[in-house]
Amino acid sequence: MRGWFASLPIHQKLIAFVLAVSTAAVLAALSGLLAFDIARFRSSAFDETQALARVIARNSSGAVLFNDPDAARDILQSVEVKPSVSRACLYAATGSLFAAYRRPPAPPCPAVAEEARGWRTLAVVAPVSRSGRMVGTVYVERRLADLPGRIFVTAAAALVMLIVAGILAFALARRMQQLISRPIVALAGAARAIGRDRFELPEISAPPDETGELVRSFRDMVQRLASANAERDDLLRRERQASRLKDEFLAALSHELRTPLNAILGWTQILEATDPDPQMVAKAVASVSRNARAQSRVIEDLLDVSRIVTGKMQLSLAAVDVRATLQAAVDVIAPAASAKRIRVDVAVPPVPCIVQADPDRLRQVLWNLLSNAVKFTDAGGTVAASVVEGEREFSIAIADTGIGISAEFLPFVFERFRQADGSPTREHGGLGLGLAIVKDVVELHSGTVRAGSDGPGRGATFIVVLPRLVGAPEAAPPRATIAPLTRLDGVDVVAIDDNQDALEILGRVLVSAGAHVRAFSSPESALADIRRAPPFAVLCDIAMPEMDGFAVLAAIAVLDRERGTTTPVLALTAYAAPADREKSRAAGFRAHIAKPYDAAELVRLIAAIRSPSSQST
C-alpha cells in the first residue's frame, strides 16, 4: 500500500492528500453532528415525556384522592394521542398500581415505577401531590422506535454531504495542486536533463514561495555547475596543452644541450686522437668555446626562468641610459649579423634616455630581442633598433624584415616553452624561453613589451616600453656597458676544489689575470697554508668529501678571530639554485659564484672585494 502510494506522481499524491484530509474532516464533523443530534433527540424526548408525566400527575391527584380509578384511566388514556408513548401507569402512595394505560404490544405496567434511559425506551416518573402531600406516582414510558429511522436519515444525508464535499474537494485540489506540482514536475524534468549533461534550463514559472525559491536556487545551482563544468573543461585543455608544451620543451632542452656538447666532445676527441697543428687547435678552441658558451646560456636561461617563476629574481636597480645599453647589445650581436649579411640600424635621440633598471638585465633583454631578430631574418635583411622618447616613457623598438609571426601565434609569443614550430624537425633552435624571460624581466621593471607582425614573411617588431626615471641624475655611470678590463696583479688568492680539472682551470684564469694563486685539492692543506700566510681572498668549492665548503668557511672564521684578520671567502659551486645562494650567503660567504662561471666576471668579483659595495651575480 505504502509502496504503491510512494510511486504515485506528485500531483496525484497531492489530490489524494486533500481528499483524505477533507473526507476525514467532513466525516468527523458529520459523526459529531449525528451524535449531537441523537443526544439532543433523546434529551428532548425525555423532556417531552417528563412534561407529559407531570401533566398527568397534576391532573390525576383528584382521581387518586377520591379513589376514582375510572377517572384516572380516562386521564391516562389521553396519552393515546402520542403514538410514541407505550405505557402510562398511576400508582397510589402505597405503591400499588392504581390505574394503567398500555399500547400493545407493550407489557403491563411494572411493579415498581423507576426512571430509565435505555436505547429502545425512556421511562420517567413524576410524583402526584396535592396540598403539599404526595398521593401517588405517575410512570410514563416512551419508545424510541423512531430513533433508528432518524439516525438512518441523518446518516444518509451525511453520506450525500460527504460525496458532495469529496467531489468539491477533488475539483479544487485538481486545480490548486498545480501551483505546487507543476514547478516540481518541471524541476524534475530539468534535473533529468542535467543528468544527461544538458545544462539548458527551461523557463519554469513558480509562485514567490518556497517552490519559487527552490526553482531559483536550482537555476543558480545549474548555472554554477555549468560554468564550473566549462571551467573544468578549459582547465583540462590548458593542462593538456601545458603538458604537451613541457614535453616539447624537454625535447628542445635536450637538443639544445646536446648540440654544443656534441661539438665540444667531437673536437676534444680529435685533439686527443691526432697530433694537431696549431691552426687546427685554434679552430678547435674557438668551436669548443662557442659551444660551451651556447650551452652555458641555455643553462643560464633555465636558471633565469626558475628565478622568475619562484619570484627570486633580484634586480640591482640603477639609473641607466637606454641608448648606451642598446648600443652595447647591438655591439654584441654585430658579428653574428654581419656574418649573415644583415644590416643593423640604430636610431636614438640625441639626449640621454634615463630609466631605472638593472643594467645587466636590461642588456639581456635587448640582446635577446636583437639576437632573435638576427636569428629569424634571412641573409641580406635589415634589423632596425630605435629608442623613441615619450612624455613618461621610452619605447625601444627592435624591428626586422624576417620570417614574421603568424596571427595565430602572435598572442602566445611571450609564453614560456612556446615556439611557433614545436616539431623536432624545426629550422630554428632555441628553448623558447628567451621572449618569456624578456617579458618577465621587463615587467619586473614596471615596463611592458609587445610584439607585432604583419604576418609570415613580413617581419616582426618588438617594442619594450620602460617608464622614464623622473628627477634622475643626468648621466649615470654606464657600469655594465663598459666592462673595465680588470686585473688582479699581485693579489694573493687561495683556491680550494677537490676536482683537479676545475682547480686547474680556476688557477689558470686567476694567473692569467695576474694573481698569485695557491691551489689546493685538500681543504686541510689549504687551511694549513692559510694559517701560515693569510691570503687576500679564498675561493672555495662547497661540495667536497670529508670537509665541505661550510666547514672550511668556519675554520677560516676561527683563524680570523685568532689573528684579528678578515678573509673574504667566495663560494664557487655547481649548486646554482636560489636557495643555495641564500644558504651560502647566510653562512658568511662573501659571494656565491655558480659554475660554469665567466672568467672575466670572476675576476671582476674578486677585484670588487676591494670596494665596500661588492656584489655577486
Binding site: 391532573n59 391527584s61 383528584g62 382521581a63 384522592l65 377520591f66 379513589n67 376514582d68 377517572a71 397510589a92 402512595a93 402505597t94 396535592r130 396540598s131 403539599g132
Partner: protein, 178 residues
C-alpha cells in the same frame, strides 16, 4: 353492587385514622369525600388570612361530625390544621370554610344556609334538593357509589374557586363555567 362501594370506602379511609365504630358505612364514605373537598377549593384571599385552621363546620343531625373528625384527625392543608366543629347558630358561621348540613336538618336551618350562601363557605349536603336551594355540593348515591354534584354558579357567587379536577370527578356540574 356493594363491592365497589366497599372498595372505594376502604381506599378513601386507608390513610385516615382508624375506623370509628360509630356511623354507617355510607356516612363514613361521605365523611371521607367531604374531608377531601378543601384540597380542591380556593377561598378568597381574605378568608384564610391569619387563620391557623381550616374549619369544617357541621350542623348536627347525623354522625357526620363524628366520622369527619375521625377522618381528618391530624390532617394539614398548606400548613393549616384541619378542624371539625359544630354549628347551630348564625354566629357560629364566622370562620367556617365548609358547612355540612344533613338532609334532615335542612328545614330547620334554612336561615343559616341562606346566611352561609353570602359567605365564602363551601356548603355541602346530602339533601336531594340542596342545589336548587342555593347549595354548592350535593352528595348522592349513584349505582351504589357515593357521588357528588357541583353547582359552579353558586360557588362563584360565594367567591370560591373549585378545581377543575373536582369538577371532572363530579357526577354532574351545573351552573355554567367554573
Amino acid at each position: 353492587m356493594l363491592v365497589p362501594i366497599v372498595a372505594l370506602a376502604l381506599a378513601a379511609l386507608s390513610d385516615a385514622a382508624p375506623a370509628s365504630a360509630q356511623g354507617t358505612l355510607k356516612s363514613k364514605v361521605e365523611a371521607a369525600i367531604v374531608s377531601k373537598f378543601p384540597q380542591f377549593v380556593e377561598w378568597p384571599a381574605g378568608a384564610l388570612n391569619g387563620r391557623a385552621t381550616i374549619d369544617l363546620c357541621v350542623v348536627p343531625g347525623d354522625g357526620m361530625q363524628r366520622d369527619l373528625e375521625d377522618v381528618v384527625s391530624g390532617d394539614r392543608i398548606d400548613g393549616r390544621t384541619v378542624a371539625v366543629r359544630r354549628v347551630e347558630r348564625d354566629a357560629d358561621l364566622s370562620g367556617c370554610q365548609l358547612l355540612f348540613v344533613p338532609a334532615s336538618a335542612i328545614p330547620s336551618h334554612r336561615a343559616l344556609l341562606k346566611r352561609a350562601a353570602a359567605l365564602p363557605v363551601l356548603t355541602v349536603s346530602d339533601d336531594e334538593g340542596f342545589l336548587e336551594g342555593g347549595g354548592i355540593v350535593r352528595l348522592r348515591e349513584v349505582d351504589g357509589r357515593v357521588r357528588f354534584d357541583v353547582d359552579a354558579a353558586s360557588a362563584a357567587r360565594a367567591g370560591l374557586r373549585i378545581s377543575s379536577q373536582l369538577l371532572q370527578l363530579a357526577a354532574s356540574v351545573r351552573g355554567g363555567p367554573a
